[in-house]
Symmetry: D2
Subunit: 428 residues, 4 copies
Amino acid sequence: MSTAQTADRTIFERRESEVRSYCRSFDTVFTSASGSTLTDTEGREYTDFLAGCSSLNYGHNDPDMKSALVDHITGDGLTHGLDMYTDTKADFLRAFDEIILKPRGMDHKVMMVGPTGTNAVEAAIKLARKTTGRKNVIAFTNGFHGMTLGALALTGNAGKRGGAGGVSLNDTTHLPYEGSLGDVDTLELAREMLRNGSSGIDAPAAFIVEPVQGEGGLNAASKEWLQGIAALAKELGALLIIDDIQAGIGRTGSFFSTEDFGFEPDMITLAKSFSGMGLPFAALLLKPELDIWKPAEHNGTFRGNTHAFVTARVALEKFWKDDSFAKEVAEKSDLLEKRLTEIARHIPGAYVKGRGMMRGIDVGSGELAAHICADAFDKGLIIETSGAEDEVVKVLAPLTTPLAQFKAGLDTLEDAVSASLSLKIAAE
Amino acid sequence: MSTAQTADRTIFERRESEVRSYCRSFDTVFTSASGSTLTDTEGREYTDFLAGCSSLNYGHNDPDMKSALVDHITGDGLTHGLDMYTDTKADFLRAFDEIILKPRGMDHKVMMVGPTGTNAVEAAIKLARKTTGRKNVIAFTNGFHGMTLGALALTGNAGKRGGAGGVSLNDTTHLPYEGSLGDVDTLELAREMLRNGSSGIDAPAAFIVEPVQGEGGLNAASKEWLQGIAALAKELGALLIIDDIQAGIGRTGSFFSTEDFGFEPDMITLAKSFSGMGLPFAALLLKPELDIWKPAEHNGTFRGNTHAFVTARVALEKFWKDDSFAKEVAEKSDLLEKRLTEIARHIPGAYVKGRGMMRGIDVGSGELAAHICADAFDKGLIIETSGAEDEVVKVLAPLTTPLAQFKAGLDTLEDAVSASLSLKIAAE
Amino acid sequence: MSTAQTADRTIFERRESEVRSYCRSFDTVFTSASGSTLTDTEGREYTDFLAGCSSLNYGHNDPDMKSALVDHITGDGLTHGLDMYTDTKADFLRAFDEIILKPRGMDHKVMMVGPTGTNAVEAAIKLARKTTGRKNVIAFTNGFHGMTLGALALTGNAGKRGGAGGVSLNDTTHLPYEGSLGDVDTLELAREMLRNGSSGIDAPAAFIVEPVQGEGGLNAASKEWLQGIAALAKELGALLIIDDIQAGIGRTGSFFSTEDFGFEPDMITLAKSFSGMGLPFAALLLKPELDIWKPAEHNGTFRGNTHAFVTARVALEKFWKDDSFAKEVAEKSDLLEKRLTEIARHIPGAYVKGRGMMRGIDVGSGELAAHICADAFDKGLIIETSGAEDEVVKVLAPLTTPLAQFKAGLDTLEDAVSASLSLKIAAE
Amino acid sequence: MSTAQTADRTIFERRESEVRSYCRSFDTVFTSASGSTLTDTEGREYTDFLAGCSSLNYGHNDPDMKSALVDHITGDGLTHGLDMYTDTKADFLRAFDEIILKPRGMDHKVMMVGPTGTNAVEAAIKLARKTTGRKNVIAFTNGFHGMTLGALALTGNAGKRGGAGGVSLNDTTHLPYEGSLGDVDTLELAREMLRNGSSGIDAPAAFIVEPVQGEGGLNAASKEWLQGIAALAKELGALLIIDDIQAGIGRTGSFFSTEDFGFEPDMITLAKSFSGMGLPFAALLLKPELDIWKPAEHNGTFRGNTHAFVTARVALEKFWKDDSFAKEVAEKSDLLEKRLTEIARHIPGAYVKGRGMMRGIDVGSGELAAHICADAFDKGLIIETSGAEDEVVKVLAPLTTPLAQFKAGLDTLEDAVSASLSLKIAAE
């Protein structure tokens, strides 16, 4: 590392809050990014298996999105338009309608929320409570739904919850996610608890569930379990909110992660890769009969990011007009599963978790997982951990990663695993 | 209105949630924007006295920001970098350090929060509670701090609060803002209530206050009142959070709206115009001794919007390196006050409110204010109301509005007032 | 103090919780009590100016109540009957109907709650929330309403509130009681705050107010202020709950402390002296149209204490059939006011507070008040302090105290004041 | 029923709140009670298998308690003494110390709380939160702990919870009680949920558990399960509160219902039969190291009911000085189990639940159970239902019921079951 660069970095230590985190694991200064590759001030290149925590499903700086965005900017297209009508928003909505919603038979409406996932979650639970007249929202073990108080109450992680500084995170009930209690049938458990009028669990306004728990350790709920939750919600007069912020937009293979599961979510939260290019953007899809909002009853200055409308539209047109992208992702997912399974065999007790292009290896300890990721970074691969104990090495590569780079990245991961295991064995 | 355009618009009705609001007042489809002018699909031009609710203090599509942003994009600068180190972030932080913080003797650190004002507020109150071990946050009558549950609890408006769907908005106490109780000395009232150990108001973690209440009716607190609140906070061991989301970034004349007031806020929330060009961006400034966050204890996928770093830096360099911009704003503010005072004279009982370039006329009723704004829009001026009863016609023009256009806009406002008054008199 | 007695007392230290309190101020072991006199193990007699915190308005062991209770017990009258019908309850209800409710034109129904004041308060606020569909209950500075979580949220004292161990005491708003803010018109303030739709104070389900604040320092609200609160409650669609637990049952001269004030409370809480003889008993009076309870929706094992029905009935028949008792209390109240005013003159800055037989002297400091009470106890008078800083010496003598004993007690108080002042002067 | 009596009863309808409940099932007016027999205005006698919901474990009006109480009253013993020292309290504490605590090796201190079970529960959870600095209290499915807001939050029943009128019942987590989820190991489930740092369930201050759920359907937890909960509490740094309000004081055979279970509760709540004779009385036992209360930090006017001290002492001396009473209860419990098992055989699908003298038959439906109880009442037996669906016929006879009367009561129950079944069969 050059002296110049070191000097550069003091600005972060001096002026950026201690809350910063990824920069601690990936301790270099990045300057550019294209596709699945990041480059730092030293000119070193890194393959990105983190993809902005699934915000960059189409990779960095997709040339078509870039070009459309540059055209928009140079043509004085609106940057900030509150929630006024713009041709850019109309174009986006039409593309979303025709390419995504209509073909899937969905009549959901789009609520432009503040451009963060947590804002979509907050809007969803406010609406669920308003429409049902109930307060309790059911969330699940290991779930992550955001950091503002309403969403944080739905989040499982004790450390995150502790950030609230001691205020009660109310009006929620946390039930065990599928598989989180060994052999216990957690769906049956949810049924028993919620059907019992003396359980002490108040009648729910909604269930909120991530089909794959991105932060919680890549736990992937089965189709049957999610169908059961959907049916239970209906039985109880509660709404089903699918939090597709991390698992949606192709990450599991299809645009929505449960679109082939045979039930219709009342609401779906979208953020991360929804803008296509990593621009801040979030939305809540809601069934039209739930759309009882009064104008501005939930608002936010940056709702409906116009730049994001441009890139999101390009993403829809480029990747979702036919099924070729989905097929490509499916093939890559198979490859990923195969390779991770092979790698996991080297690690005693390890196993592969997740679904689609959202998979990882539970290596049994946060310490080992951290070693692997650190070693991978030294070898030019950006990859992070997940799970309650950070015990899962998580692969979240851009879905568009060229096959050769994808394979090379997995090779690097394998090398990092080997190196970490050797180190571990040497230490024992 | 052409048939084509009408057809265009059905997409909004069909697919966008009923929560949309500004599009109802400004019912046309905008296509481009530059400086203080918006253009719609019909080629009609509008002068913008709304400025994205003060998110566009430097106007639309500032050419230098555009150019820097286009260079960044075409050069494959990062779009999305989580909170990793980038040269773009370093450049922004350095500019903010040198142009803003250092000259003002501020040692605050910058926390990159999710790119919405409400997220900055949520981070601030979480931190206040964590550091003080107390839970109660004092907010003020007519205040607006955001729509996620933690921030919503601090917001005064009953309609907004009702959106929570019935969950309790806890751990807050609302006290009267300066001037909200006629002649009552609200500072003394706050002192009495909070010094009384039997008041039933729990010891506060923090006070959060907007120096000028943008949504609450352009109430501007005096220097003395704010000094008193600052002193009271200190006396009680509570933190002072200045919510400068709407009043900051030059809107009242200086970069921070209380920088000349002789006290140092423990935290300052920034959003809206902080990115310069209207891109989603928010941050929390906090005194270094408060920076006890653990890494990622508060996080968010879009914290630290890289595109916004580019434009925010340009804005700092272009407008704040010397005091010429501030002087220009001060002159425009004087003009604004003068003209509004003249206009208010025509309206029985009306009076001018606010501070700097954040001023309006309390016209006595929401109905009249709505008439004025609607008539102004017909005449090509975008302007909105504010206040508990929407009784204030609020001028939030870009600070950079050319003088001729600014005067013309005020002329249009005067015409709209006259027209609305005639209509009103005719109706009576 | 004899050795024997000292030995006796170790049982308290060994086995009774540190939460015990009055025994610390009145550090002897009492053995019997009659009228206004307590006797301890040493045979020493004490005049009781505490009266069980107004639970013994008719003095200790009234002979008629004793006799009726003994008859009931020896005749195998029910002791515990849950809320089944008993002739004893019927007799009590009939007496209450004919002697108290009917003559005052009150059609309230009686809800038998658990035999504690706090239980009556909890029932009242539950019902207010159920019937209005709102959650916020307005309480006042320096108010005391009980120690269970719902009632504690309405209580002002920070020390008491702190006992909750950090859980939020929610869904309440504390406004200043009459006179608690110097010259500020607190009624007008309440109006302004509650009529403002952007105050951040949610629409109230109810106001709960003590007409005289027994624990809060003997603040007595004026008729006009209470009328104003009653009218404001009606205007806002909120219920008015008069907490007459300490001020009711003759303490201020009339059976209910606001019965001559020209408004009708929606609910009245009663406890303390309601049983007549100091037996645990509490009830909630509620307007019949509010009586939407489902059977047992609020219950409690000891609701409707049968022994208390016996003594309460005797008390009603003995003291309230005509106005002779009320007149006697009125005369005694005048005497009390006169004597306290004289005594207060000796103390720089002191003044008399309260109403009826619920009066005291604000002596300016808790330290001096404690001295006075301790000295009075040494001289054979049981009397305690009140107020946020324990700065009020509070006279709560049984209303039946014989005139000679009452005067003698006041003489003792005067002596104690003199002694404490001499001591204080000597110390300075 | 005589006309006179009918007239009598109108007072209840006119003046007592609709919340009254037992009088609806047992629709007559009672006049006296002795042992296990109640007598009404018609002179009709009823055997009491309800016993004031276990408040009359020693029957009605025990002659020794009566006699001691009458002596106390006629001798001008104190009736109301706040928490001052009295010889009566000393005598009670000494008896409790010597007869109950010392022989069981318990060093708990006694906190005199307001004379209701719910007050003991509120005090317990306040103290648990204060001492641990945590807020979450774990309660169990079908549990009942009281009706004031803090205790209600721990109560399972949806109807009772609904009485709160919509405020959140916070800072509690409800986990399944033993056996409430079929074959699921609920202890293991509790362990898994609470050990998982991402479960969303905040670290508990305490567990509160009824060893037998009196209102919840006579579910009796096993020794092993309770030991497991005790161990889990210790592991997690949480306190164990045994709610022995209904199951304690001999109801299950021993004074405390878990005294032979090999663990030491941190706190035990007592009420109901603690006074011996049905007088309002409650207390919280707490380990001395938890006794961090400041004087009066939790208080209440009727804490330490002096009349109850008298009868409670007599009860301890009469029934608990040796093991003869316990043996008698054990024999009666065996008989009860045998007879209920026989009766249950007649009812398809029915089975016996409970422990000791706290047993009943789950008859499968609330309708049938109501029929049986109504028929039993017609036949002179007072007995009620329990359980989430009121599906359990619950026998709570006084422990002192003479054997012949006990058997006769069970015969009556058997007759009522037969009659109800015949009726049911006839109807089908």
